[in-house]
């Protein structure tokens, strides 16, 4: 156990009190809550944006209730910021920062993060970035509308994008968000390496902790080039340099390489934590050991390494050397192998189980079932010859929503419903939880399957009114269907918020270990006190995290901290 963690624990017993406790705390659990609720707030904004632009697509030109008429410039700003917010201010803060902060110390038996004050700084930088991205929507000229990929020269020259202020603030906000996650990532990695409970060896670490740490490493290795690229883009915007300006020796394609060199590993940065969450839930509720623990860890590492060599599949038709497409087709299709393997492992874990379909289990299973669709449709896009047709169509859009929605939304609901008893000491209402589950999953498929069909029909992206394209105009019923399903799904989210508040105030008391799970966070009180365990009674680890239904034992679980 590192001294640093002990010093950190000592510090917050004398830390700020009252309301200050919540905004100036270094406790990993409070910081996790800050990230979680900021992320949820941003998700509501991102969801509202989706509602506005889907309404515009279904009923072009009509005023959208709650918003008004959508102009082409506003439409571009809405789709751009929907994407940016959902990835950088929802998926990352919730999956990595919130659950990473909450789970890592609790699951490895530490009293806090190794660097509690860096942790606090990480959230504060993140909060500033979140405020900035929201401010950028309301400045003169409106929010940035050059897509979340921000390809120059559209993003670099204000005469082209017409949002001089909006695009610069957008860029600064994204860069600050990266700073926040670099700070957080360092903390996660060092904490796992140095603050594990006595007896916890590498293969006794719960998969979700592994996954969050591997994701943090991927993020740290990939984000550097993009930060350099973002600084150059900011200079192009504000100082008039020409890094991406071909008339002055620059090259617009340079940005695309820097962006996607980060952007593709980023997919796995958010995927791995969601896979980790799923592993915890599936093992708990099928009362089974994870099938091939080591396979999962090594496959995740292999995926991470491969993910650095696939980026140009986003650029097949961008004007890169056509021979390069062949290499990236090979690497991209190869990455399907470890991902398929992970899916097989999770499915194999179900074999021979005793499966209890609780709300968190439903979410975890839905993650696998839906992510498979996202996975297989990726093959169409990784195959260069087929991508000529599919590039920048709604097929791409539907594909990555079938990956990101399971990751960021289904994964989050799985984790939230599973660890809610630990976070708040109360059980969530299972009936309301299941209503919310079906009310989200069924409309989700009705949103994006029509969008696959539109993509097959050749519908290209980021168009505010398809009536301008005769071949596409007649597919309007599919657009209306997708929008209708979105509204149904959004309405069902009220059930979730209602359930959250009601269970928080008056839910049944949870006890230490309501799911009869093995990992260390279930051995302390719900919610855990400062320092997580009494300082003289920190947990020790005697076995791996998934020893369920071990033959010869009466109990079908065997917590990691029980000797024998």
């Amino acid at each position: 156990m590192a001294e640093a963690a002990a010093v950190g624990a000592h510090e917050h017993h004398h830390g700020p009190q009252g309301i200050l406790k919540y905004i100036w705390s270094t406790d990993h659990k409070i910081i996790a809550m800050q990230y979680l609720f900021t992320g949820m707030f941003m998700a509501v904004i991102g969801g509202f944006m989706a509602y506005v632009f889907r309404m515009q697509l279904a009923f072009p030109g009509l005023p959208v209730p709650g918003y008004g008429v959508v102009s082409p410039g506003e439409y571009n700003a809405l789709v751009t910021n929907h994407g940016t917010i959902m990835i950088f201010w929802v998926a990352m803060p919730v999956l990595i920062a919130a659950f990473g902060n909450f789970l890592i110390p609790l699951m490895i038996g530490a009293d806090d993060m190794v660097f509690p004050r860096i942790n606090r700084l990480s959230y504060q930088v993140f909060l500033i970035s979140a405020i900035l991205i929201l401010v950028s929507l309301f400045v003169e000229g409106g929010g940035f509308g050059g897509a979340w990929t921000a390809y120059p020269p559209l993003s670099s020259v204000s005469d082209y994008n017409l949002t001089k202020l909006g695009s610069s603030i957008w860029l600064v906000a994204v860069a600050l968000e990266f700073v926040a996650f670099l700070l957080g990532g360092i903390n996660f990695i060092v904490t796992l390496m140095n603050a594990r409970a006595p007896g916890m060896k590498a293969y006794d670490i719960p998969v979700v902790v592994w996954m969050i740490v591997i994701a943090s490493i991927l993020f740290m290795l990939s984000v550097g080039p993009l930060i350099a690229g973002a600084v150059m883009l900011l200079f192009d915007q504000t100082l008039g340099t020409g890094f991406y300006d071909p008339t002055r020796g620059g090259d617009p394609i340079l940005w695309q390489h820097l962006f996607w060199f980060f952007g593709h590993p980023e997919v796995y940065v958010v995927l791995l934590p969601a896979l980790g969450i799923t592993a915890e839930i599936i093992t708990t509720f099928s009362r089974k050991k994870l099938f091939g623990y080591k396979i999962v860890i090594f496959t995740a590492v292999a995926t991470g390494v491969l993910s650095f060599f696939v980026w140009a599949h986003h650029q097949f038709i961008a004007g890169i050397d056509p021979r390069m497409a062949n290499i990236f087709t090979v690497t991209t299709l190869l990455i399907s192998v470890p991902i398929a393997e992970l899916c097989f492992v999770y499915i194999a874990t179900l074999y021979g189980g005793s499966i209890r379909l609780t709300t968190p289990m439903l979410w975890a299973l839905a993650f696998i079932g839906e992510f498979l669709i996202g996975g297989v449709t990726g093959i169409f896009l990784g195959a260069s010859g087929a991508d000529i047709y599919f590039h920048d169509t709604y097929f791409v859009l539907a594909h990555f929503h079938y990956t990101f929605f399971p990751i960021a939304i289904i994964g989050t609901f799985a984790a939230f419903t599973y660890w809610f008893p630990k976070m708040f000491g109360k059980m969530m209402n299972d009936t309301l939880g299941k209503i919310h589950f079906w009310g989200t999953i069924i409309p989700f498929n009705f949103i994006f399957i029509p969008l696959f069909v539109l993509g097959l029909g050749g519908q290209h992206r980021r168009i505010y009114n398809y009536q301008n394209f005769p071949e596409l105009a007649e597919m309007q019923p599919l657009r209306v269907l997708a929008t209708g399903a979105l509204i149904v799904m959004l309405v069902f989210q009220f059930v979730f918020f209602w359930n959250m508040f009601k269970s928080w105030r008056s839910g049944e008391k949870a006890g230490k270990n309501p799911w009869k799970a093995n990992t260390l966070e279930w051995t302390t009180d719900s919610p855990p006190p400062h320092g997580n365990w009494p300082a003289d009674d920190m947990p020790k680890v005697y076995r791996g995290p998934y020893e369920y239904s071990v033959p010869g034992r009466d109990d079908d679980y065997w917590p990691q901290n029980i000797p024998g």
């Binding site: 097989f344 499915i347 074999y351 079932g369 239904s549």
Partner: protein
């Protein structure tokens, strides 16, 4: 599959569609297998009173084969897809057949400008015909297009041809197509290019030979 929704109007459209069909069959098989096994296991191993779960580590060889065999088979399918993808890619993007005509396609905020050869049939001569948002071509001829941009990145996309190529400022990118079917089809800009991106709609008019000849002579005379 796709041809039911979008016509095939170029020489390589069918090969792109064939590749998409190949991928659909291969990944469709794996998808249905995986989902089938997945739902079957959820049903078969649902909680029943008195039944305890099995203890399977998945680390033994006899267990691992349930993962490693499908793993190997997925890899084999990947190889087939890679071969198909590279073949189609080579024919559409890497290999340029000898052209009958050359045209210049210029993207700008927010219109397509086309420069077509005049009666002499050669691009970049005095009798070139310039059009906006309408590209006139002759069927059954091989075209090279020189794709340029005056401002931001655009993408020249003709769904019925299965053709897409980004236009990058500062570069002239050469590609090819060979129309096989007369008619008027959409040209899209497939890369976001500013507030007018949604109205950057062009059309390609594929004429038969006599019709094209009279279009050229009419427009050459007008210039």
């Amino acid at each position: 599959m796709i041809e039911r929704m979008v016509l095939q109007a170029s020489s390589y459209a069918a090969s792109v569609d064939g590749l998409i069909l190949l991928i659909t069959v291969l990944v469709g098989f794996w998808f249905l297998m995986a989902e089938g096994v997945f739902f079957w296991l959820i049903f078969k191993f649902r909680e029943k009173p008195g039944r305890k779960a099995m203890y399977i580590t998945g680390e033994k060889k006899s267990h691992k084969k349930w993962i490693s065999i499908p793993h190997g088979l997925v890899l084999v399918c990947d190889v087939f897809i890679i071969i198909g993808a590279v073949k189609v890619w080579y024919n559409v993007k890497q290999h340029l057949p000898e052209p009958d005509y050359e045209v210049r396609v210029i993207g700008q905020q927010w219109a397509w400008v086309f420069q077509t050869p005049g009666p002499d049939g050669v691009l970049d001569t005095d009798d070139d015909i310039q059009t906006v948002d309408k590209l006139h071509v002759e069927t059954d001829k091989t075209y090279h297009f020189k794709l340029e941009s005056r401002d931001v990145i655009h993408s020249f996309s003709v769904p019925v041809f299965r053709l897409k190529q980004d236009a990058v400022p500062g570069r002239s990118i050469t590609g090819w197509f060979h129309p096989t079917r007369t008619g008027t089809y959409d040209i899209q800009c497939a890369e976001i290019c500013g507030i007018g991106h949604g109205v950057m709609a062009g059309q390609i008019v594929v004429h038969d030979a006599p019709e094209y000849a009279s279009w050229v002579s009419d427009n050459a005379a007008a210039q």
